[in-house]
């Protein structure tokens, strides 16, 4: 399942957000998208997910244009894991995950035994089957994020798009969720996620795409792309990049601690 964006350009009125974004992601790849706030990462995701359609350029999934796919067909290929937000209603965890199976049943029916099994397998894979009957608002933020990933798995799509999966999580949960996501990529999922923290991107991603001014300014292996120049270019902060553990970890430390 490969996903390819072709020269995506999009503007909110006068304001040009995306100015020609092209890349292709393959199965087994964990792609981290880096860039400052407002650079258009979420907009790019919306274009790729068919939530925005009036953009020039195209998104292709196995050669088929997302723009022409009905929502139910697209849901079988691509799943979206949104940024953490408080739900309007407190559903049980299993119901939340079952919602992912909606495109697999007819419009007039409700999920049956088969869908429940699918949902339970997804929970099992994320090691949270014990939360099955808990209320979604009664579990921790990290667990909620895992429930959303389970929902995407129950959807049976092979391409996962995640909007800052580790934001809002505590220190430990950030690493736990990143590890789970890494394992999914190893299983053959295509994972594209936007991240806040370049250190995390370096630690887990197979590939790093950096955006600035609505365009891709760097694309490649983290070890080849992530350096002080890129970080300064993206975030306007002078840093020194420290390498640890034989370069398996890189940490960006600002040069001037009194940033203005």
């Amino acid at each position: 399942m490969s996903i390819e964006t072709k020269d995506i350009r999009f503007a909110y009125g006068e304001h040009e957000v995306l100015r020609g974004v092209s890349f292709e992601a393959e199965p087994g790849q964990l792609v981290a998208l880096l860039g400052p706030n407002g650079v258009g990462k979420s907009t790019l995701f919306k274009c790729m997910l068919g939530l925005l359609k009036n953009y020039s350029g195209d998104t292709l999934i196995n050669g088929k244009s997302v723009k022409k796919m009905p929502a139910a067909d697209l849901a079988k290929e691509v799943a979206y894991i949104p940024q953490w937000h408080y739900p309007s209603f407190n559903f049980s965890v299993i119901d939340m995950v079952l919602m992912g199976t909606t495109s697999q049943i007819s419009r007039s029916s409700v999920p049956g035994r088969e869908q429940i099994e699918t949902a339970e397998q997804a929970l099992e894979k994320m090691n949270i089957l014990h939360l099955r009957d808990k209320g979604y608002t009664q579990i921790s933020g990290g667990e909620q994020q895992l429930v959303l990933v389970s929902r995407a798995l129950a959807q049976k799509a092979r391409i996962l798009i995640m909007d800052e999966p580790s934001s809002n999580l505590d220190f430990g949960n950030q690493f736990r969720i990143m590890k789970q996501i890494k394992d999914l990529a190893a299983d053959g999922y295509t994972v594209i996620e936007s991240l806040h923290n370049p250190d995390q991107a370096y630690m887990y991603a197979d590939r790093l795409i950096a955006m600035k001014g609505g365009m891709i300014v760097a694309d490649g292996k983290p070890s080849e792309t992530m350096d002080a120049d890129l970080i300064e270019k993206l975030y306007g902060v002078e840093v020194k990049v420290h390498s640890l553990r034989h370069d398996r970890i890189r940490i960006c430390v600002p040069n001037n601690l009194n940033i203005d």
Binding site: A71, F91, Q155
Partner: protein
Amino acid sequence: MAKEKKKQLPYGTAVIILLVVLIAVIVVAFMLGRYPITPLELFGILLSRFAAAVTSVMRFFGVRASWTITPFWAERQELVLFSIRMPRVIMAGLVGCSLSAAGAAYQGVFQNPMAAPDILGASSGAAFGAALAILLGLGSKLVTLFAFAFSLITVGLVIFISRHTKGKKVLGIILAGIMVSSLFTSATSFIKLVADPADQLPAITYWLMGSLNGVKKSDLLFAFITMAIGLVPLFILRWRINVLTLGDDEARTIGVNAGRLRLIVIICSTLVTAASVSVSGMIGWVGLVIPHLARRLVGNNYRHLMPATMLLGAAFLLAVDSVSRNLLATEIPIGILTAFIGAPFFIYLITRDGERY
């Protein structure tokens, strides 16, 4: 937090309990009134009608049979039961079911537990229509028709306006609803101002209070068909309403065309609300609170919530209507009673120990 999960009945048990309660309320409602009917008489009357029906069916197939039950009840009781009490009982159940289902559906569609059936102006439109018809001196059938038509027109207008709002769709619809609703409310006030204070104004005021008094069999057919057209899709689409509560973007990525589904749910909910309000006047409160009670019983999953809400709403409104016509010598408008009976109970529920909202 004392308990991790709220106590909820298993869905099957909850439905059986609600069904039993509903049937019990129906039986009691049949019995009470100016001409009381004992359970035995009620059973006899119903059985005799059933026997007559069986006999005619058998005759149709050429079987000579006659199965009759000698009446041990007064003829007047039978007349009251079939021409007055039964239409009213059925109507109360239908209106309760409709308003509650519409409330639950709107709450899901607007991702807002405070939504009620009048959120898009269905009630204020109906009120305006009814007031206008009364002002024009039209008969009761036309009052109903005007109320129904203006209810639909109001919501249609809201949806039309919301098509042109910028930004978040749900917010656009709700804001358009509030504005259009307030326009119709002031138009109704204006009609009250110019209406004849001797007879028209009291008629309008009484209509606005909401009452199931004087429901006729002809109203029943109209209400039943309209409500069925709305309630059946709401029941069938109940699982998908869950997905809508996640918001448009998430719903779409899960494979649900949020805009289209929301429109269908809004149309169905509006249809049943319009039908309810046009035959019974303004009965507030039910559509907001019954879904919440049902959420307490079976949880937020619309797969279970929708049927539970429908049953509970029917039983509740029927019970309140029975009180409204039997408590005092003159009937108390049901719109007044729903809040008097329901609100204290609801306050008790939300303040009870160990509950969290």
